[in-house]
């Protein structure tokens, strides 16, 4: 029978509230940086080059590539943007020239759709299987033998569902036992 919630939440609650303010304070400059960086992120050339691979054999993302080919390509993207070309037009012209290998990620079409879909399908399938397995384990539940692994009190933290009061009781008992051993 679950017991009422906490009888002595003060330390945990106080710590959590203090932490909340601490985190809020720490996150303020981070968020401020987000505001500042908004302009940096709007760089249209970077929006394109960060999605492309340098066409030489270095295999680096173009926006961070410092090889000669990379620098020439970054210049090309800059010029095309200044000439009024859109992201799609620039990408299309580069794909025409170098092939799809220049894209940092393949287009989600044809066979390459698989690489986009499979991870999420696998995750969903994993969750489904895990849920089915869990439900089967619950349905087949048999009473645990005293002393068997997983029987109540067989290990710290194991045992029946606990409330805060029970947790504290258990911790107190442990602390008392340890103190007793220490004094001995």
């Amino acid at each position: 029978m679950p017991r009422p919630i906490v009888s002595r939440p003060a330390p945990a609650f106080a710590a959590a509230v203090a932490l909340a303010f601490l985190l809020s304070g720490a996150l303020a400059p981070v968020s401020a940086l987000a505001n500042e960086s908004a302009s940096g992120k709007k760089d249209p050339a970077r929006a394109i080059t960060s999605q492309l691979i340098c066409p030489c054999s270095c295999g680096e993302i173009l926006s961070g590539c410092t090889c000669e080919t990379g620098k020439a390509m970054q210049g090309y993207v800059d010029r095309e943007i200044k000439a009024g070309k859109s992201k799609d037009q620039i990408e299309a012209s580069l794909v025409n020239q170098y092939g799809e290998v220049i894209l940092g990620a393949p287009k989600a079409k044809g066979f390459n759709l698989l690489v986009w879909v499979a991870p999420f399908l696998a995750t969903a399938l994993g969750f489904l299987i895990a849920s089915v397995v869990l439900l089967r384990w619950v349905r087949r539940r048999a009473p645990a033998m005293p002393g068997a692994p997983g029987a109540a009190g067989s290990d710290f933290g194991a045992g029946p569902s606990t409330t805060a009061e029970q947790d504290l009781d258990a911790l107190r008992e442990r602390a008392e036992a340890e103190l007793k051993r220490f004094k001995e």
Binding site: P9, V101, P119
Partner: protein, 653 residues
């Protein structure tokens, strides 16, 4: 000396074969003599490998160019420290280091269990020796490190400039200590199946070995990220390169195992799953070597491509087939002892946590190998790089972050509504508050919001767990302040070590968030006297100069850095032209503070005399490195917990 080196490798191969055969014979007949001889042979392999390493290191430091390996990877102008680290710059040396770490693990295992009279431990040693047979045969017959040149050159080819970084002195050995160490959990798993063993003692031992390797692998991965950050000069630290991914995958599966093994220890469940995870972790660590050596994928880390890829692939196929067959054959041995009480429980959360870790591994594996698969099917070359991984892996990683907060505060067996309320309301409130505070300052986008909420949520749960424990100790032992914390951690190192690891992980998440989402960049050609503005910083070009540095010529820009009105000093981003390779390399300039890094690159010097300067502000990137150290500290604390093992040994005795 080269003959002695060759002989030591050949003898190591023979000793490995002897160890396998002798222990197998001893296990079959029950005779103690062959078991003892087999154990000794493992020590012999370790000694012989050490001898081979000493011989090769001596040749490297002496620049003995009659050794082909020395001529290929060193030169007269190479500083001695890099001549020393050239041991792991090439394939043969890397394999030798691998074998040494492997044999050292074998020897350490035998030393750790020297007082146990149980053939089970001999079976473990036999599996380790079996893997030694593979590596010694590679070094003896396929990729020998002691090949001699008929006509030694006057000077060597020199070391790849990318590897001439202090980080490279320790990154590969630490990474190998992690990678190779997974042999011991793997050997335990196989030995359990071979010997038809039940019980939970071995699983605690495996957990400790795994934790040890996992810590080294994780730290090695972070050191690699640090190396990429300071050496590759693209402003970031993780590019989802195939070799980076290869090191991440066994770490992810190892992490899944470290969680699910708790369910087996406490409830006697998920046994098959855990053995499968051990096997997968080991196979992925071999797969990482395959990726580095095979040359099937383009990587900035492919320093040592060769034709030994198929050997590794063959080894992975054979070892995984044997392991799978054994798991199926011993299915009954791995039956769960208990059933679950409720879906919403810590056991349930660990199962979902495992699904997410494996999903992350699968997405990484698929993305890494897909270019090869796609080209084979469609005939067209494609790239699968950071833009793919950032879109697919980030949401899965964020789900894991949320589960990191939820899992540890769920009770074992079942969770009542009151427990849910007590453990989740305050952390959720803290997470919400942190997010709300962020909004007015420009926090936007689903992923950053979830990350901030998740980070605050997890930290709040950790703080509450500590607060509860401290309160309990105060009530009984009247300990106060820092002593109460120390006392709490001391009494349950495993649990609180785990929380510290989680805290380190959250720091890494926040560091990644800050340095990726909030990164700022500016670039442009600068003439002397001109400035580049980036956020609060101003970079003024004083000039460009050429100067020789050790074995390279540096062309460096001199930038005067100011933040607001405060002059911070000069910075020297440079281009290095190494004399031997004639390869231009980027040498970044870095100003690090806890809040942010100012990262400066010299792109080159243009015909008109201007210098192309690229600069980034990477906020909170220091949290990534500090978070890594915190994780190591937490793991060491968890590893120090021997009480549980002793208790279980008493129960088992």
């Amino acid at each position: 000396m080269s003959e002695l080196g060759r002989l030591s490798i050949l003898l190591a191969f023979l000793a490995s074969c002897f160890a396998v055969g002798s222990i197998a014979w001893g296990l079959r007949t029950g005779m103690a003599g062959p078991l003892k001889s087999g154990r000794r042979a493992v020590w012999v392999v370790c000694g012989l490998t050490l001898l081979a390493i000493v011989i090769l290191e001596r040749a490297l430091l002496a620049r003995d160019f009659s050794f082909r390996y020395v001529a290929e990877h060193t030169s007269l102008d190479l500083p001695p420290m890099y001549a020393f680290s050239s041991l792991w710059a090439g394939q043969e040396g890397s394999l030798l280091l691998w074998l040494f770490v492997l044999s050292a693990y074998g020897a350490a295992f035998l030393w750790a269990y020297r007082k146990r009279i149980d053939p089970f431990y001999d079976a473990v040693a036999m599996v380790v020796a079996g893997v030694m047979v593979f590596f010694t045969s590679l070094l003896a017959f396929v990729s020998p490190p002691f090949r001699i040149l008929a006509t030694p050159p006057a000077d060597g080819n020199g070391l790849n400039p990318l590897l001439q970084d202090p980080g490279m002195m320790i990154h590969p050995p630490i990474l190998y200590t992690g990678y190779v160490g997974f042999i011991i959990p793997f050997a335990f798993g196989i030995a359990v199946l071979l010997m038809n063993r039940t019980g939970t003692r071995w699983i605690e031992e495996v957990r400790r070995w795994t934790l040890f390797c996992w810590m080294f692998l994780g730290f090695g991965v972070l050191l690699g990220a640090r190396w990429a950050y300071v050496e590759l000069g693209w402003g970031g630290y993780w590019g989802w390169d195939p070799v980076e991914n290869a090191s991440l995958m066994p770490w992810l599966v190892g992490t899944a195992f470290l969680h699910s093994v708790m369910v087996e220890q406490r409830r006697g469940m998920m046994k098959t799953w855990n053995v499968a995870l051990i096997v997968l972790t080991f196979e992925l660590s071999i797969f990482g070597t395959f990726l580095t050596r095979s040359g099937v994928l383009t990587s900035v880390h492919s320093f040592t491509e060769s034709n030994i890829g198929p050997w590794f692939l063959g080894f992975i196929l054979i070892s995984s087939t044997i392991a799978t067959a054994l798991i199926l054959y011993r299915k009954a041995l791995l039956e769960s002892e208990n059933r679950l009480d409720a879906v919403v429980s810590r056991e349930g959360s660990f199962l979902f946590n495992n699904v997410l870790f494996l999903a992350l591994t699968f997405a990484t594996f698929l993305g890494t190998t897909f270019p090869v698969v796609s080209e084979a099917v469609t005939g067209a070359k494609i790239s699968v790089s950071a833009p793919f991984f950032n879109r697919v892996n980030v949401p899965i990683a964020l789900a894991l972050l949320l589960l990191t907060g939820a899992g540890p505060v769920l009770s074992w067996k079942r969770v009542t509504t009151s427990v849910l309320q007590r453990n989740f309301l305050i952390p959720a409130f803290v997470g919400l508050l942190a997010t709300l505070v962020g909004f007015p300052f420009g926090l936007h986008g689903v992923y950053p919001i979830v990350c901030v909420f998740g980070a605050a949520f997890v930290i709040a749960t950790i703080v509450m767990e500590f607060a509860r424990g401290i309160q309990a100790r105060k009530d009984v032992a009247e300990t106060k302040g820092a002593m109460a914390v120390v006392s709490l951690v001391e009494k349950n190192k495993r649990r609180y070590g785990g929380y510290i690891v989680h805290f380190g992980m959250v720091m890494i998440f926040v560091g990644v968030l800050g340095s990726s989402v909030f990164q700022k960049e500016a670039h442009g050609p600068l003439q002397p006297g001109e400035s580049l503005a980036l956020g609060p910083y101003t970079l003024k070009l004083r000039g460009v100069e050429n100067r020789p540095v050790a074995n390279a010529q540096h062309t460096r820009a001199i930038l005067d850095v100011t933040r607001g009105d405060k002059y911070l000093g000069p910075a020297y981003p440079a281009k290095a032209m190494y004399f031997k390779s004639q390869q231009p390399m980027t040498e970044i300039a870095l100003r690090q503070t806890p809040a942010e890094d100012l990262y400066m690159i010299l792109g080159g010097v243009n015909d008109d005399g201007s210098a192309s300067i690229q600069a980034y502000i990477n906020p909170l990137v220091s949290l990534i490195w500090v978070g890594g150290v915190v994780m190591v500290i937490g793991t060491l604390i968890a590893l120090a917990d021997r009480m549980r093992l002793k208790r279980e040994e008493k129960l088992g005795a």
